[in-house]
Symmetry: C2
Subunit: 318 residues, 2 copies
Amino acid sequence: MIIALTGGVGGAKLVAGLARALPADDLTVVVNTADDFDHLGLRIMPDLDSVLYALAGLNDRERGWGRADETWHCRDAMAALGAPTWFNLGDKDLALHILRTHWLHTGQSYAGVARMLARRLGLDARVVPMSDQPVATMVLSGDGEIPFQDYFVRRRCEPRAGGFRYAGIDAALPLPQWYEPLAGGCCAGVVICPSNPFVSIEPILALRGVREAIAHWGVPVVAVSPIVGGRALKGPAAKMMAELGMDVSPAGVAERYRGLLGGMVVDDADAGQVARLRDMGLAVEVTDTVMTDTGVAESLARTALAMVGRLRREREAG
Amino acid sequence: MIIALTGGVGGAKLVAGLARALPADDLTVVVNTADDFDHLGLRIMPDLDSVLYALAGLNDRERGWGRADETWHCRDAMAALGAPTWFNLGDKDLALHILRTHWLHTGQSYAGVARMLARRLGLDARVVPMSDQPVATMVLSGDGEIPFQDYFVRRRCEPRAGGFRYAGIDAALPLPQWYEPLAGGCCAGVVICPSNPFVSIEPILALRGVREAIAHWGVPVVAVSPIVGGRALKGPAAKMMAELGMDVSPAGVAERYRGLLGGMVVDDADAGQVARLRDMGLAVEVTDTVMTDTGVAESLARTALAMVGRLRREREAG
């Protein structure tokens, strides 16, 4: 079984590629929940929804987030009533938020909600929130701690990021749906999707026992670089890396994952990074990582999976 | 001060007329809450919203309920997710449901929610829910007790109504915003809007102390008949009256309000009822009660208010 760790929209695209490249039973998608939040009483789980929409083909490719053919009548009516409008709620998107919130209030867990939504969207992929306990990323800045969606949407990532805190992480447990296979030695490899290291991937890795289980079993871990040509295709990853004094490059990301990572897939634009990454002891593949369609996503997924396979064989041989 | 008791769409139209005929300070609109319910975790208050939409000019006059220029994208997306669709939630309408539910969860009362929504819709009318405690109309039928919205929307009023129970009524108190003026002798008259007697008006009248306060002060009560030419313009009032063995006529309604009512405004179609109503000791006016536009509604409101004034002067003189 392959475990894919994913956060936002770039990660969701690779997940759609992985779902085309693997039988449903061979893939478990672990979704970051640390940017979930409550807005107007609705439980918003942006990363889960990005994965669900991408897998169901409902995602908006132009805008880059939310649902295709979206409309905004409820949002506009709420704005007319003086409600806060900084977080955009589309009419179709609201369907998931309303049903999820209702199910959570009637006793469902995050895992149950993800399973029900996936099933009702006709998906056979196994999509699992990282934890059933709430975790909330706080961005540490000169203005103090800023809740992630506040930083990301309301303040358009403008505050300088000095670090991150995952509130609730000590009380959160990784869900057994993905943690038990991992801790039990049944995971053939981990693919880290091209998601923000700080706010998408590290909350998952910070859950109790996760890094230890990967190390214990020597699970091969392959990342697809979220940095392409010195920039993030979407989101604040590059800006955060610069503010944290890191090298804004695949090598900078690999440095962050040091000790965990066995290999990295980088974009053609970063072919110059190969030697440096190999010097870090990593396997490297260079390919097109800009997922303009599901064909590219599937091809990229197959490249990452092939690297996982090679690393596993090397480990078994060694 | 005039108190108007109102339930559904017909009542809301007369309320809009009353609001044009009276200074804002002279009118308190008391709204039935006994057909409120929870749907997919949202608190739906249909009668309150009908009044708010009518006063704000946002109501759909063709369809007869909900908001004008409504769209249904969220509903359709929820249907695709297998959610129950028997209760229609429009995208714009959802704005009120979401904000109200959020405010209620954060500690607001029904009265507070009504006040906030009215203010944000730019209304200066005083719109007050009948009570801050939940009351739920149950329709007694051969199939047992049916919650009102289930009977009204899902089952399209098909079950035979044998009676009604207002669950929670014994624990509910009329809100002081309207009950204190009434009980304190500061109410110049009560207008019963052309709403369903059983499921809109009687829950309000059944609240502790209301009938007693009206009787104690001899408050003149005038009803606009919800029955026109043997039929209800909308809703199940006529069907219910027939099933309960009542005369489906203004006189049948007046009989139901016996002991409370001082006068009734009936439609031109029911001019033949005048003698019978006068024999019951009631003042009667005959006019156009079919509120096809706000001009008719205002004229009808003025007719009812004039009758209230006459009854009050007669009482003071007598």
